[in-house]
Structure formats: structure tokens, C-alpha cells
Amino acid sequence: MPVQEPISSINDFVVRFANVNGSGSASANEMFARSILRHGVPVSPRNVFPSNIQGLPTWYEVRVTEDGHLGARGGGVDMMVAMNPQTWDKDVASIEPGGYLFYDSTKPMPTSKFRDDITVIGVPLTAITNSTYTDPRQRQLFKNIIYLGAVCALLDMDPKLVEQLIGEQYKGKEKLLSSNIHALHLGRDWALQNLKCPIGLQVKKADKVGDRIFIEGNSAAALGAVYGGATVCAWYPITPSSSLADAFGSHCKKLRHDPKTGKAKYAIVQGEDELASIGIVIGASWNGARAFTATSGPGISLMQEFIGLSYFAEIPAVIMNVQRAGPSTGMPTRTQQCDILACAYASHGDTKHVLLFPEDPAEAFEFAAQAFDLAEQLQTTIFVMLDLDIGMNHRLCRPLKWDDARQYDRGKVMTAEMLEDGRDFGRYLDVDGDGIPYRTYPGTHPTKGSFFTRGTSRDRYARYSEEGSVYADNMQRLVRKFEGAQDMVPRPLQANAAKPTKYGVLYFGSTAPAMDEAIGLLKARGHELDRMRIRAFPFHSSVASFIADHDFVYVVEQNRDAQLRSLIVNENGIDPVHLIPIRHYDGTPITARFIAGAIGAHQDQLKLTPLRKVKS
């Protein structure tokens, strides 16, 4: 049998850590990722974790990518750090031929447990750990740092950069700092003395990170809520959105306490369920505070009635939906973009809702902040459509920016002065032609401006009415209002191929990094495509133009039923034959390989057979 050549790659490979959930490995693995960033080499890490707590497997996959491809790579892994006996067979099987297996060699393993087309690297981690530490918890924690040290040696990483990180993490805690440094070197020194270092996979210093930051999407969205002026957050725990509400709490602790009194300039309530959470949000918004909730698919289902109330009674609300695989409980720890239709058309009756599709934490920050302006300008619910991939992984993205001159746009609010001046106030009266009426906050004026808010139909002055013409007039105004939103929400971003082409691709959200990489792969195969990243619904007119400018447009999305495609067809009256669905929905993040493979196959077919073009 020919000997498999070991993989040789500088700054372009995938390392996966297989650990037992709750073993303290997350901290060490994250430190690995961050230290590579300190080398100036971009990384894209992803957690894969079970729907349970301690005792089940968890994986942390780090794509080291000097070229800055932040999507998941796909295929096998180049190096597996196998620390979980339970998943050993699966982990070893996932290594690319020529790859590397790193494991704890303290206990001997039968040769049948290995492969002969990979490089097996054993380090007696347990033995090293136990000879140095006696406390069981210490043993568990420091074993992780010891393997980190060994991996650093194997990949030729600069230990000083790792030490710097440890120093920052344990600043002020001298004892922990020195013991971590010690553990790091225990592993590193053993590897240098006993193994062939470095291996074919290496990290070399580069200058490809720039001033980018490394942040989790949920944390960025929560920070956007802080900057956007949210004062009330009501939420119910659900994976993968709980960390967004938690992050809001942490950010507020640091940024939103009165410097003199120490009191909170915000209120966070964990509701008894999602209905209470959205009810609290709506009550707070009705009363003039900026409020939001964070949830996932099952929560959206529960909130339908209140969302309809928000639409019809025209009350602002911001819902951050960190999507996961459904339906029902689905796969709580797997990513998907499968709530598009449920959110766009939430609630019974004729409704349409604004959706924002951020691609990464930087946009999550911006769109979350903007959502509060939009909610109050449009007096309705705004969905910020995140997903597990963006929300619960660290992503390298551009630094967050804020213009200090920026004011909050509270929308049309009639004040006591305006009422005193004799301004005609009708809660559902269209004054400017844009379909957006004025509202008043409770408690504004002793004798003017009060009205009854309810989900029943009423006239322009909020007087109860069941008259058909009054209802229809109101419904038409709501449509007018919604159409006007297309110029207020984030525009789509278009990038054209170097040469003119008849083919285009539409995509959104967390598909973005894989799409960017896929365009390059497709180009190498001879397929040129224009691309447009949709960033919001209602769709800007440029989406319809983009489709009209091409013979066929691929719509890439991470759900089974091509929901965005359906929404485009439905809303823009497009003949479906022009939109080719490319769907990935197994719960793993979409990859460039998949996109390029699927589109490439279609493109090859299109080139082979002359098609009769269907004109609609």
C-alpha cells in the first residue's frame, strides 16, 4: 500500500478538538484560536455541542485561514485532537488522509484503533498532569492547557503569544497565571523533547487580521441593543438565544448603571414563557420605552398572537430570532435559516413583518441598534434574524462603530406641546401619506391625546368600528406603511463578476462567508456569477431588478423549503422558473464546497443542453 503523504500546509488547515462537555476545554480551545489571531492569521472557529450539559461530547472546529475564508470548510479535518474516548471511532474516521491524530497516550491503545494513512501523535497527558497536580478539578483543567502547549509546539506557534493571552486572561490573579504558564510549558516541552516538531501543519506569522475583532454574534447583537437605547428586555431561556439576553445583562452591568447612585437604567425580566416575554415588550413599547426579546423558532410560534397585535394596533417591538433547526424542538443546537416565512407572515389574518438579515456580528450590532429606530418609526415588530452559526460562535469581523452625533429616531410621537397647540390627533390618521400615524405615550396630557389601544378594528381616531370601509381603509394604510419600509431597511449589496454574465445568486445571513469563498471556486471552474446579498424584507426594488437582469438566479439558503425563494416569488410576482433553489439544511453550517458543487452542477447542465427559455 502506498504510504500516504502527510498533509503539508501553512496557515490553511482545519483542527478539530473533541472534548467531553463540561471538562473546561472550551477555555483552552478558545485560547488556541485567539493565539493564532495574535499571529496575524485569521481563524474561524465553530462549536458543535449537544443539547445537554455535562457528560456529552462537544467539538470545537478551528479553520485556520490566511486567505480569510470564514465559512466552514467542509470535508474532513486535517488535525484531530481526540480527547473524548466516547467519540473516538467517529473522530478518527473524520480525519483527512494524510492528516494528524493527537491523543492522550497514557493508556495503550490497540493498533486497530488507528489508521495507517494518518500520522498518529501520542502525548501521555494524564501521566504528565497527574505527576504535577493532585486536586481532581485542577487535573481536569490543567490537562487542557498541557495539550494546548503540546499542540503549540507541533504547529510551530510562538509560545510568547499564548503566554500573553494567558497573562491578559488572568491579570491580577498571579497564582492562576503562573500555574497556567507552567502547564503550557509542561506540554510544550514534552512535545519538543519527544516528538518531531513541527508537523506538516504550521502557523506562521502574517498580517492578515488587521484591526478586526473577535466576537460572538449574540454578544454583538446585545451590545447593539444597548447602543440602540433598549431599556426593557423580557426573555425566556431557549437555545441558542439565551446567551443574547445574558450578554445584554452583562453589557448593561458595565455600561448602564447610574454613576452616582449605581441604579439600573434598564430592566431585564425573565418571563414565565415567551408569551409573557413578548407581552412585556409590547407593554413597555406602548408606554414609550425601547424593548426587545430574544428567542428562537419555538418561541416565535408561541408569540404569534402578540405579533399580530403589534401589527394591527401598531405598537413597536424588536424580536431577535436566533434561528435553529426546527420544526418543533427540532435540533436545538444546530443552525438553520428556517423561520423566514413564519416571521414574515407571523400571526393569523393579513400581516407582513419587517425582517433584518445580518451576516456577521458586526452587522448584528448595527442591525440590532437600527431595529429600535425602525420599530418606532414604523410602529411595528422588527425581526432581527440571526441564527446559531452567527449567534453562538466567535467570528472575526470589522470593529464596531458608533457615530456620537447619532440621535435616536423615536418616530412620530405627539407631545403635550403639540397637543396644546391644537394639532389634530388621530391615532390611526395618516398625516404625511406614508401610512405612519402619530402616537402618544400614556400620561402625556391631562385632557388631550388619550385613546384606547386594542386589537379590534377602529377608525382613524381610534374609535371602535366594525364598518367595512373603515377596516379596509386601515388595512390599505398598513400595506402603504409596509411598502415604504423598503427604503428604510438595509439595502441589498451587489457584487458583480468580472465579466458580464446571465447568471446570478441571491443569499443572506450566515451564508455570506461561504458564498464569498464559493464565488472564487466557481470562477476557477469557469462559472461567473453576479451576486446579491439580501439584508432585509420588504425587498428593495433592486432585488426584482437583479432577477430581471439575469436568465437564472440561484437562491442559496439553509432550510428545506426554499423559504426566501418563496417569499420573493410571492411578494414580487416572479415566475419561479427563474429562481433555482440551492438548499442546505442538515444543521451544519453551509460550506463553499457545497455551494460551488451545487451551483456548478447546475451550471454544467445548463451549458450542456440548450434550453428552451421559458418566458413568463
Binding site: T231, S285, N287, K401, S450
Partner: protein, 386 residues
């Protein structure tokens, strides 16, 4: 029995005055169909009407004409709310009225016409009220609900709003049926009671007062729509109370549950009412002019300085003993008695805002200057993420 309105229940609206804000013909007809909402209510106020400390008359606390059935208990509760707000000299527009869905939930339109009202979603008044309260701690929050709204679909929200100690006056207008949807039993209907068609309820009843006590409500009362003398001071005291104030008001439904076999009819309630005390609410302005026989009155001072004078009817009843109250209720319920009065009060209660330690300024008045950390803070955050 002491303290009851004798004879037939009287519709308590002043004459035939109607409100100019009303509009003709809509709001649906009540079952009786004799409501004259097509007559606009004139804004004229008789110069002889009494004024309160703010110079307002009763009329300033009214709302639209009720479209409920003539004789509905809920309209009496509305009148009591109006009276209580008038006596407390509250600024009408500083009250936020929030309700769920049902006949009772329609009533906020019939009082405090200058306040913002929110007829929300069935069973979800408490969450909306909680959110509104969080946004502006300075307004007064009146949550009006029914037994369908609070004991069935909204049972969870009723419970959790009380657990949290939201500063509110939560009134359940309790008639044992779903009036708006034509008379189905509600969860507060007693086991063994019969509906209009003679069908017996076989489910056990929920006693919202007992549950409010268990959940830690700091002000718990029960009353009867037909006993304005008892009800008005209870509402006033609840409004002044800081924390979750819950009042269960039995309010007979003349259309669907006022017949023999009902345990929530006018006749039944009058025959089984067991009032344990009577209240006078003393605001700090009024000197105490009423003479009380020694040993019969307990004065409870609330944290904002208002005082409640409790005139004991039952010498053994202690409204500061939560566990005692729960036992008392159980014993009397077993004998078929409806215990009314101020059943429990904790004058030192706290509310959700104190638990959350929010700033004194209402959150809805905070602007970008104090809420937005600014670009310098963001640069620091960016630096920490590299």
C-alpha cells in the same frame, strides 16, 4: 348582615348624561339592547358638583357610556373605580388602564376617559401591564380582568405578575362565566353550581384570592359589586399600595349567571357574604374626623404616608397574618361562605422596580445621552476583543 346594599341592585351612573367623545351606533348592543349609546354624552358639568383636591368632579373620572347589559355588576365596579380615583384626587391621565379580553376587559373604556387604555389579548393583561410599568414607574396601573381571563387562559400570567410584585391594582371582575361568548362556565364557577340551562359544573373551582395569598401578593381583598361602601375604599387602598394589590370582585352576570343554582348571583352572594372588616382610606391631607369606638379600629400606615383604618367586623380576623388568612378562607369556603374585605395587607411591601433597583427617572424618559455608552467605550470594547 352588616354593610350590604339592600334591595335590587341600582345602576349607579348619574342620570342620562352622555359623553361627547362617544360616537353613535357602534360598540355592539348588550343582551338587553337598551343602551342609549347613540346619544352623545354632553360635556356640560353641573356647577353644583362636588370637587376634589385637584378641582376635578366625578365627571372628570368618567369614560364612555357602557355597552354592557343593564344591571351588569361590572358597571358598579366601574362606578366604584371612578369614585375611588375621585376621592384620592388622582390626576386621571396619570393612570394607565390595561385589560385582557372579555366583558370586564371592555370596562376601561367606561372610566377615566382621559387616560390611555389597552384592551390587549385574552389572558395576557398582566404581562402587558408589567411591561408598561417597567417603562414608566410613575404612572398608576389598573389591571382589569375577568375570571376567564385570569383563571383560565391567563392563570399563569396572573400568578407570575403577583410573584414578581408588580406595582399594580389587579381587579378581577368575577362572575363565574364567560359573558362575552354567551355563558360558558369559567374556572371560578363553584363545583355543583348550575348554568342557565341547568347543566352542573363538575370541576373544582379556582379561588384566586387563596392563590394570590399563596403567591405572596402584598394586598389581597375580595368584595362584591353590589357593596360599594366596601369596594370603593378597597380600590382606593389598593391604588395607594406599593406592590401587587389583588381584588377579587364578585360581579353577577345578569345575562348568564344570576339564576337559582348559581353561586355568583346577587341573591346568593348577599346570603353568603361574610365581611371580616370595613375600610376607611385616610389620605395625609384629611384630618381624622370619624369617631371610632376603642378596640374596633386598626390603623395601618402605608409606606407613602396614607393610612387605612380597618374597622373589624370579625374580631378574630387578622389581615397581617397570611397563613391565618389562608386557613380562614378555607374554613369558611367549606361552609359555603364568601369571605370579603381586606384579607391581607403588608404595608412594608416592595415592588418589582425596587427588586430591579431601577433609576428613579422613568425608563421611558431616558434619552440617548444617558443610555448610549458612546464611541469611546466602543473603542475600548473593540480593543478588548483583539
Amino acid at each position: 348582615m352588616p354593610g350590604f346594599m339592600p334591595g335590587i341592585h341600582v345602576f349607579l351612573f348619574p342620570g342620562q348624561d352622555v359623553d361627547g367623545r362617544d360616537k353613535p351606533g357602534h360598540d355592539g348592543a348588550g343582551i338587553a339592547g337598551v343602551v342609549m349609546t347613540y346619544i352623545a354624552k354632553p360635556k356640560f358639568q353641573h356647577p353644583g358638583l362636588k370637587k376634589n383636591a385637584l378641582g376635578f368632579t366625578h365627571r372628570d373620572y368618567e369614560g364612555k357610556i357602557s355597552t354592557l347589559c343593564a344591571g351588569c355588576g361590572h358597571d358598579s365596579i366601574t362606578a366604584s373605580i371612578i369614585e375611588a380615583c375621585y376621592e384620592l384626587s388622582i390626576e386621571p391621565h396619570r393612570v394607565a388602564k390595561i385589560s385582557g379580553i372579555g366583558c370586564s376587559s371592555k370596562t376601561p373604556d367606561y372610566f377615566l376617559g382621559n387616560s390611555h387604555g389597552f384592551n390587549s389579548v385574552h389572558g395576557r393583561m398582566p404581562s402587558v401591564l408589567t411591561g408598561a410599568n417597567l417603562a414608566n414607574r410613575d404612572l398608576i396601573y389598573l389591571g382589569v380582568s375577568g375570571d376567564g381571563d385570569s383563571a383560565s387562559i391567563g392563570f399563569g400570567q396572573f400568578a407570575h405578575s403577583i410573584r414578581r410584585g408588580v406595582n399594580m391594582t389587579y381587579i378581577v371582575e368575577n362572575n363565574g362565566v364567560y359573558g362575552l361568548t354567551k355563558g360558558q362556565f369559567s374556572a371560578t364557577a363553584d363545583r355543583g353550581s348550575k348554568n342557565k340551562r341547568g347543566v352542573m359544573n363538575t370541576d373544582n373551582a379556582i379561588d384566586l384570592v387563596a392563590i394570590a395569598l399563596q403567591l405572596g401578593a402584598s394586598f389581597v381583598a375580595r368584595s362584591f359589586s353590589g357593596d360599594k361602601t366596601q369596594l370603593v375604599p378597597l380600590i382606593a387602598a389598593a391604588i395607594e399600595h406599593k406592590g401587587s394589590a389583588f381584588i377579587d370582585v364578585i360581579s353577577p352576570c345578569v345575562a348568564f349567571n344570576n339564576h337559582a343554582g348559581s353561586t355568583k348571583s346577587f341573591d346568593y352572594v348577599r346570603e353568603h357574604n361574610d365581611a371580616v372588616n370595613r375600610l376607611d382610606v385616610i389620605t395625609t391631607r384629611d384630618p381624622i374626623t370619624v369617631e371610632y369606638a376603642p378596640g374596633t379600629v386598626q390603623v395601618v400606615e402605608q409606606h407613602d404616608g396614607t393610612r387605612i383604618a380597618l374597622r373589624k367586623i370579625d374580631a378574630d380576623y387578622d389581615p397581617h397574618d397570611r397563613v391565618g388568612a389562608m386557613s380562614f378562607l378555607q374554613k369558611h369556603a367549606a361552609r359555603g361562605q364568601i369571605v370579603t374585605g381586606l384579607l391581607y395587607v403588608d404595608p412594608d411591601s416592595e415592588d418589582l422596580h425596587s427588586h430591579l433597583d431601577t433609576v428613579e427617572t422613568p425608563l421611558n424618559q431616558l434619552g440617548a445621552k444617558v443610555l448610549c455608552p458612546g464611541s469611546a467605550a466602543l473603542d475600548k470594547i473593540n480593543a478588548s476583543l483583539r
